[in-house]
Amino acid sequence: MAKPRELKRRIRSVQNTKKITKTMELVSTSKLKRAQDRVVGARPYAQALAEVIADLYSPELAERFPLLRQPTGGVKKAAVLLITSNRGLCGAFNANLIREARRRLQELEQTGTETELHLVGKKGIAFFRFTKRTPASQRIDIGDRPTPAHAVELVTPLMERFANGSLDAVDLVFAKFNSAVSTPPTTLRILPVTPPTAGRSDGRTVNYILKPSAEAILESLLPLYVRNQVFRALVETAAAEHGARRTAMKNATDAGSDMLDILQRTYNRARQGQITQELAEIVGGAEALKG
């Protein structure tokens, strides 16, 4: 049996670790709350945009917009944009995202598509550095408070290259925020744009006066739609990260408590054993002196 003093030291160490994980859990909980508000706040805009595009879009218009261009002769060159977090200690969160991205890359490469990788977040960058794959672009400055400007910076070069034909598809890999406990890694094809159909009322009930024209409005709204998809992905991934971290830290705290229970019990037994032994020795010694 281990020495009581060593046990005592382990108990202290577990206690300290538990304090840290508990605190991280609390911090993530409050950050999650705010991140969740941002996810909810971004919804009306996305919905309004999708509604209007669904309203104005008709398949006959498709050829006129570069962002809707379906690549002729299959996808030859595709970009994958992977969003991960900058920090760890959030369970399998980043591992899941990376796995999804690799799966997607493999899928594309199997069909003979040339791929390039764009990375957001230190964790994704670190992984692909390890696999010696050079990303086409990487950035770590977005953090957990993404702004629409970040999304614009990320996606504008991709949109330009898609429009001039040097890219045939852009896939976005991010964590979809269904709820704090359900954040599945998701792949979304952002280019070519799949015009939204949700929210479309059956038949056009209202005949709008459109200025300047349906085409012109669509033309300027489609880029907004693409940017907004990226923005939402950033916001959702940020929220998902905090959710994942909270769960991971809660598990760690619980595991710490279990461990402490066992250690404490072992310690008590060891201490009692020691006392019993010492008593026996004293009694034995006294008996021996009596002769």
Binding site: R38, G41, A42, P44, V52, V206, Y208, P212, S220
Partner: protein, 83 residues
């Protein structure tokens, strides 16, 4: 009429107004209650909402304005209240 102003990050304003003046792509447009269904692209500038005697202003850029069924919806990339 009911007016909503939505930016990419959040919904900024929701409420009643007697008149809306917005910077459309080619100049100012004014919307009064019971306006015909109307949709226009927005440029950059100030949206003014008149409510009784008071006026609320927002600086907006891009996006669109949609007027229908006595409701106006302004959807713009960025919107900030201006004093």
């Amino acid at each position: 009429m009911q007016v909503t102003i939505i930016s990419a990050e959040r919904s900024l304003f929701q409420g009643e107004a007697d008149a809306v003046v917005a910077p459309a792509f080619d100049g100012q447009v004014g919307i009064l209650p019971r306006h015909a269904p109307f949709m226009t692209l927005l440029g950059e500038g100030e949206v003014k909402l008149r409510q009784g005697g008071s006026e609320t202003r927002f600086q907006v850029s891009g996006g669109f304005l949609q007027a229908s069924a006595n409701a106006v919806r302004i959807v713009t990339g960025t919107a900030v209240p201006s004093s």
